[in-house]
């Protein structure tokens, strides 16, 4: 992948460009709507869904609350299973560990299972600098990689591309990366998938080194878990001789039986299936079966910074299901690229500022504002991360980071709103004034334009005309 998120404009600028792209908006609305409906169906058939969510959150909280001890336990179990354990403070350190393993086996290519952690650290670019090609093997990642593109969704990274565009990418680019696309390739999804199968099979069969992430790492048993659909994960975990897994330190769960919660929560929340096609678990080297040499890189890269944030640390429970993306009204309209990170949507709006810190970068600082605080993300989150709470907390941290200096228009507006809402009498007066305004605007349902500073709001939104009578007034009249 030669695309990069570095230097992306702040969210409002990038979002405006995305909003102008009607094809993108159409694809996104279709995708998020479809997955949302599937998820709702399979969640509704689980009677104890709420119990599972509560248990999932508690298990993760316990692991995080004693993360030092949990990680040491994991390290010991992995080592007992014959796995070499590495620790990486940041992206550069993690990349050089993976590169060193690859180079020590004299290879110039590795096959990769889709993994958020390896995208986060920019592993493909780093390996390329060492002369090692990293082949993405997930279909969507292949589309993104061959197209020199950026992923736009955690689960379906190429959701912004339609079938005709994908055929073009395959026809023009596959030959340069290995086996060419067949002549007369159609734009039928089954044909495109078959072309990817043939293209990648050649790579799976010859690869010596594979790189994966892990959805879960079990401290008690040193078991790693990869959850997937296509079988490319199984190929990478099984056929090569050497396997390197890059695992964020928050992926650890205490015991094997804790997985009985997550194996229910994750597939239903993620793809909206009762179970994903393939889940692989392995506890180190198995004699006569699969890789003979295994490495695990335990990655910090900002996670301990998240852990130190009292309100924000719940974010580390995230199991990257992407349910929050699919219900988010902002994500549905802007798509993933506007967030300028491999973690888009509501989770990205909190995870990026928490991992990177606020106050240094306008792009990161804009993310906590990429939300209407509607709360839909919290409703669907399988590990009950209160995303709106963290967003509000981060907004105040962004504001604090930019003090001293003149308060921003939003800070002033919020302060004025606080003053109005703080006293019933003041609120009543404002509501009466709004009612008068409404009468003056007879018949109009929404305002498309307000004078400055209101134009900052109406530049991207319509404002509903205030009701003639406020709710509070109606209520007191009916008493």
């Amino acid at each position: 992948m030669s695309g990069t998120f570095l230097g992306m404009p702040p969210f409002p600028v990038a979002a405006r460009a995305a909003l102008a792209d009607t094809q993108l908006r159409h694809n996104l609305a279709h995708a998020t709507g479809t997955i949302r409906a599937k998820r709702a169906d399979v969640v509704a058939e689980v009677d104890n869904w709420e119990e599972l969510r509560v248990a999932g959150a508690a298990i993760k909280d316990n692991a995080l609350r004693s993360l030092d001890a949990t990680l040491l336990r994991l390290e010991k179990s992995l080592q007992d299973n014959g796995v070499t354990v590495h620790w990486a403070r940041d992206a550069a350190e993690a990349c050089s560990i993976v590169a060193a393993v690859a180079l020590s086996h004299g290879v110039d290519e590795v096959v990769k299972v889709k993994s958020m952690a390896t995208q986060e650290i920019g592993l493909n670019e780093a390996l390329a600098e060492h002369g090692v090609a990293a082949w993405e093997t997930d279909l969507a990642e292949l589309i993104v990689q061959l197209g020199d593109d950026l992923p736009s969704h955690i689960l379906v990274p190429a959701i912004h591309r339609n079938r005709a565009e994908i055929r073009e990418v395959f026809r023009d680019r596959m030959a340069g990366a290995g086996k060419a696309a067949p002549d007369g390739l159609s734009d039928e999804p089954a044909d495109l998938a078959a072309a990817a199968r043939a293209h990648l099979r050649e790579k799976f069969l010859r690869a010596k080194v594979a790189v994966s992430g892990a959805n879960f790492a079990v401290a008690e048993t040193g078991t790693l878990v990869v959850v997937e659909s296509e079988g490319n994960g199984r190929m990478c975990l099984t056929l090569p001789e050497v396997l390197v897994s890059v695992v964020g330190i928050e992926k650890v769960v205490p015991t094997w039986t804790d997985l009985d919660v997550f194996f229910q929560l994750l597939p239903r929340s993620s793809t909206g299936e009762r179970m994903n096609p393939y889940t692989s678990t392995w506890s180190g080297v198995a004699p006569g079966d699969g890789p003979r040499e295994m490495h695990v890189v335990l990655l910090d890269n900002g996670r301990t910074r998240v852990l130190a944030d009292e309100v924000g640390r719940q974010t580390l429970r995230c199991i990257r299901c992407s349910a929050c993306l699919n219900v988010c009204p902002v994500y549905e309209r802007t798509g993933g690229h506007a967030y300028g990170s491999v973690y888009p949507g509501p989770i990205g709006a909190i995870l990026n500022p928490l991992m990177k810190g606020v106050g240094d970068d306008a792009q990161t600082d804009s993310l906590p504002y990429a939300s209407t605080l509607c709360g839909a993300c919290f409703e669907v989150c399988p590990v009950r991360i209160d995303i709106p709470e963290v967003l509000v907390h981060l907004r105040s941290r962004v504001v604090d980071a930019h003090r001293p200096g003149p308060p921003s228009a939003e800070a002033l507006a919020m302060r004025a709103a606080g003053w109005v809402f703080g006293r019933a009498r003041r609120l009543g007066a404002v509501e009466r004034a709004a009612g008068l305004l409404s009468r003056a605007l007879r018949g109009r349902r929404s305002l498309r334009w307000l004078p400055w500073p209101g134009s900052l709001w109406t530049g991207a939104r319509d404002l509903p005309v205030p009701p003639r009578r406020a709710f509070r007034r109606l209520r007191s009249e009916r008493r």
Binding site: L205, N232, V261, Q264, R274, T279
Partner: protein, 198 residues
């Protein structure tokens, strides 16, 4: 300081203000009543993933397998496969050689009713992991008494020390315009034979 020491120190600093006590994890979710007929539910749910599922008697296994793979198929069997099915037993072929086989026939460790899932722990009769991955067709045999009710029952029964593959239908992708396509890298066709007791 090594990376390890530095990360662990950062973790401890980050948690300095955190409650040391652990939350009690309620396992009430494990108390759901089992489905009335787990085997029937497994058959129904596995079929919804577009696996081909049949219930049969043990005596019918060879004929059903032969019909499913076709007369010319090159069939691979894992060591320790317990049923009289025609095929070549794996002797540790390379992945490239495995690619020459059309189908593989195996047993399973257990099956899960509520999710329609097969679990292989790659013991005798199931073979190393590559066997059920490279050939394009997988036939999996599971006895009715191996079907457990739900995911917690499966996790409790399985040994984490063994490598496991949980299989729910054939390999699939929805990466292109969310259109489901069966078979990207794993077997494109999955047959499941549920063997009822004689």
């Amino acid at each position: 300081m090594t990376a390890r020491d530095e990360i662990l120190a950062a973790v401890r600093r980050a948690l300095a203000d955190a409650e040391p006590t652990h939350a009690q994890v309620s396992r009430a979710y494990r108390d759901t009543p089992p489905p009335p007929d787990p085997v029937a539910l497994f058959v129904e749910r596995a079929a919804e993933y577009r696996a081909h599922v049949v219930r049969c008697a043990e005596a019918d296994v060879p004929a059903i397998v032969a019909a499913a793979v076709g007369p010319t198929a090159r069939v691979l069997l894992p060591p320790g496969f317990p049923y009289p099915v025609a095929g070549q037993v794996d002797t540790g072929e390379t992945a490239t050689r495995l690619d020459d086989f059309d189908a593989v026939v195996t047993t399973a460790a257990l099956a899960i009713a509520t999710t329609g899932t097969l679990v292989l722990d790659h013991g005798p009769g199931q073979g190393r992991r590559a066997l059920t991955l490279v050939p394009d067709t997988h036939l999996c045999l599971v006895r009715a008494d191996q079907v457990v009710a739900d995911v917690p029952a499966a996790v409790a029964a399985l040994d984490p020390a063994r490598p496991q593959t949980w299989i729910s239908g054939p390999s699939a992708t929805s990466d292109i315009e969310l259109t489901r396509v069966e078979g990207v890298h794993g077997p494109r066709t999955l047959h499941i034979l549920v063997i009822d007791p004689a």
